[in-house]
């Protein structure tokens, strides 16, 4: 997507972030159930009127993804697509979406939640007198869930459906699980393990009761997350630590988003200095193309990148603990170079440097200086001097 084209699209399809954001955040199970019922009624009306029954959802190809320069997030455009029953290519998908609609309606009205894998298994069965299954692969039901999210303009967590949890939280933050005995706990008091982040982090479920911190530090690798706890980094620096364990799961992204917007905490992202790490950062900050529709609830456009950078390699003499980039890494880095949200001087410089030197640097490489170096010097110095990439 070229810069020009994206900008042009935006002027048409733009939505006011603050307003829609607030409305979307507010919607609870009842509102969502009502929306599903409304959609089902329209389909029934089509059938009674002898029209080919249909529902609308959004196109999800690259051509319908745009970068909202003003808000700094990736959005799904307004291009929509219609799925009808009387179309050989759509009929099965139509059937499957009806089943998913009916099932999520049931969850919402009976206050149950399910993982997307459970949705698949709940709905899988043989159709009538045939040998055909309603679903043969979880990817099919996943796709229907996405259709439904777009049709009624919400996120799956609000359909009481969620993906697998991943990620851990540590720091002086008190959470209340409003759906679970009102459990109240402080995440600084959990030893060195920390709290295991849930797959759904919606406000009506998990309340962020109190935060005593200056910023949120998001860490790519679990080992670095542990290292920083080990060094008592959170206490000494009044930081909230979030370990993503690779690409951040939806629940973790939702938590970062909420910490930033509800508690005005700056978010610093600390990843390996390689295309995968930069991509993790970009997803946390701007959202992803695949979930472009939900960036408003998941992205955190004001997040900053703290490291690793290739400047670190020079500054701290880490040359002999860099790794060679594989051809695939270089290809990926070149792709990132052309992304709209990396169109700024510091990132262009960083990416080009990586492509020229063909090297990458991992977080753990800092151990080459000493184990405590990262906690005692590297991070504090960077945060103090505001040495960030945008």
């Amino acid at each position: 997507m070229s810069k020009k084209r994206g900008a042009k699209k935006l002027s048409k399809g733009k939505m006011m972030h603050s307003k829609t954001h607030a409305k979307k955040e507010e919607e609870g199970p009842k509102e969502i159930a009502a929306k599903i019922r409304e959609l089902a009624m329209e389909i029934v009306k089509d059938i009674y009127a002898g029209r080919n029954p249909k529902f609308r959802t959004k196109q999800r190809g690259r051509s319908n993804v745009l970068f909202d320069i003003e808000e700094g997030i990736i959005r799904l455009g307004e291009k929509s697509t219609t799925r009808t029953f009387l179309n050989i290519a759509h009929a099965k998908r139509f059937l499957q979406t009806m089943l998913v609609m009916s099932k999520t309606y049931e969850y919402l009205t009976s206050n149950k939640t399910a993982s997307i894998r459970e949705v698949y298994y709940e709905l899988k069965h043989t159709i009538g007198n045939t040998k055909e299954n309603t679903f043969d692969d979880q990817r099919e039901s996943d796709a229907c869930i996405v259709d439904l999210e777009h049709s009624i303009d919400t996120i799956r967590e609000k359909l009481n459906v969620h993906a697998n949890p991943k990620g851990a939280l540590y720091g002086d933050i008190t959470l209340v699980d409003r759906q679970h005995h009102n459990d109240t706990f402080n995440c600084l008091k959990l030893g060195r393990g920390g709290w295991s982040i849930m797959s759904r982090m919606e406000p009506h479920e998990i309340e962020i009761k109190k935060v005593n911190a200056n910023y949120v530090l998001v860490i790519e690798t679990s080992a670095m997350y542990e290292r920083l706890i080990e060094e008592d980094f959170a206490r000494k620096n009044k930081a909230i630590l979030i370990g993503t364990g690779g690409q951040a799961a939806r629940g973790t992204r939702r938590l970062i988003h909420r910490l930033h917007y509800e508690h005005k905490l700056p978010v610093y992202v600390f990843t390996d200095g390689d295309p995968y790490g930069w991509y993790i950062y970009s997803v946390i900050k701007q959202g992803s193309m695949a979930l472009a529709a939900h960036s408003e609830l998941l992205a955190c456009p004001e997040a900053k990148y703290i490291g690793m950078t290739l400047e670190d390699v020079e500054e701290y003499g880490l040359q002999n603990v860099t790794e060679k980039m594989k051809p695939g890494d270089i290809k990926r880095a070149k792709e990132l170079l052309s992304y709209e949200w990396f169109q700024n001087k510091p990132w262009q410089k960083e990416l080009k440097k990586a492509i020229n030197l063909k090297i990458r640097i991992e977080q753990q490489a800092l151990a080459n200086k000493s184990l405590e170096f990262v906690a005692k010097e590297y991070l504090p110095k960077k945060i103090k001097n505001k040495e960030f990439l945008p």
């Binding site: 599903i36 019922r37 089902a40 009624m41 389909i43 029934v44 059938i47 009674y48 002898g50 080919n52 029954p53 196109q59 999800r60 190809g61 690259r62 697509t81 029953f85 009387l86 179309n87 050989i88 290519a89 759509h90 009929a91 099965k92 139509f94 059937l95 009806m98 089943l99 609609m101 009916s102 309606y105 049931e106 997307i116 159709i127 009538g128 045939t130 055909e132 309603t134 996943d142 796709a143 996405v146 993906a163 697998n164 690409q247 951040a248 799961a249 939806r250 997803v283 992803s288 193309m289 695949a290 979930l291």
Partner: protein, 558 residues
Amino acid sequence: MEEERKKEIVTGEKLAKEFREHSVAEFFKKNRQMLGLYGKVRTLTTIVHEYVTNSLDACEEAGILPEIEVRIDELGPEYYQVTVKDNGPGLTKETIGKALGKLLAGTKFHRLIQSRGQQGIGASGCTMLCQMTTGKAVRVITGTGKGKPFACEITIDPKRNEPKIENFRELNRKFRGLMIQARFKGVLYRESATGPLEYLRRTAIANPHAKIIFRSPKGEKIVFNRTSAYIPKPPKPMKPHPAGVIVDDIITMAHHTKAKKVSSFLKNDFQRIGDSVLEQIQKLVSFDLNKDPKKLTWKEAEEIAKAFKKIKFLAPSTDGLSPIGEERIRKSLESIVQPEYVVTLTRPAKVYAGGYPFQVEIGIAYGGKAGITSENNRSQEEESAKVEIMRFANRAPLLFDAGNCAITKAVHSIDWKRYGVKDLENTPLTIFVNFISVHVPYTGAGKQAIADEEEIMEELRLALMACARKTARYISAKRAAIEKKMKRDMFYKYIPEIAGALSKITKENKEKLEKKLQELVVAKLKMEKANEILEKVQATTQAKEKSSKDEDLGEEDE
């Protein structure tokens, strides 16, 4: 380090005494692989080929509807007797020896004429193999229809390349035709894709006017009946076409012509040269065309050849070519291959490098028993049908060296996907290709592969593509019909699920929703009926492509 040795100078004079000529028979006896007579299975097939093509050629020239009986008996391990009997014109006392007992003697070599055999070494080569491996003579009974038929035994004296005829005796019964019986050791009968049975099956397909009866060593009798009573025109000898003739040809012909002037030599001895062409030639050469052709020099002949290259001639006469014909190929394939659908094509004649006209005939048989597995003894699973490429040169099947052959190369050079054939190798197709010419450019004396001359390749490709287009139309129409039925079934099948889901959310009556949805499907399919089936299929395919394109981004975190 070098040893010293007394040298005895052998003089040129001494060597001269050693010089000796040897016969072509000795040569081929030492080099039987050049005649295709190698490999245990291949040798037996080649023997059957040599005899059967001779019979077919003879019948054709004599205007007789051929009936040929082939019998193979197993006499011992790797020891077989082959008997071929035809109802052709037969041979005379004078010719029988040359036909079967002398190499490079025959009726065809010196003429530009379409025939299956060509070089006059096939049948005599079999005689040689018979005596080389068993010490036995070839036994013959023949009659021309006039006078008494006779029997005899023939061998070759390889040192002289001359026939030896023994046990000659006249017979007191009526017989017209030729029966040959010969024994061979070191050969093997197999019912494989390169065995005699497959050879005869293909011969029958390309010669619908022939009745062929085969008795296998297992005692089975297989009859390929004729599907046409039309005897192909006896091919006529042709004059060479000027396009592509080389200097040496012109010189050779000029020295043998009966014409007194170069001008009349050109007009009489070549095709497509009339007065206006002659005038053009005269303008292009530096000498007078009234010259005696016997005195034509190489340089002058070279000028003529150059002139030939500059002048645009009419396409060569096809008088010498005898195609099978589209309708007869169709009938033959329907009868013997039993496919679901057949398309055939006989292309107009063209010329390749040597000034030789040629013509291409194609038949594509689809579905049913087409492809490999139908007639052959393999497993009958529908799914495993494979493409079968049947190559013919002047109606004679080519079973070996497929990889080297222009026909195979042409078939594989075509982008079959464009014609609805996704995986050529695993499609129930029989592709029949008959290449006919007054001089087939074989890649070797085994006569099993056609050289991939540029003009031949182009012609083969054009013909194949024309047939493939028609086949593609049939295949997609068939697919469309199947899909229509599938569509209705599918829509109906999904209705209860959809009605159930909607009913759960909206509390509307499930049975009512089902009934309404069924009405919708019926209305939809009626409307479609009005449209052309083929269009629908294409639209569906496009819709599928589009919708799948829409969703090519996966979610990265689940």
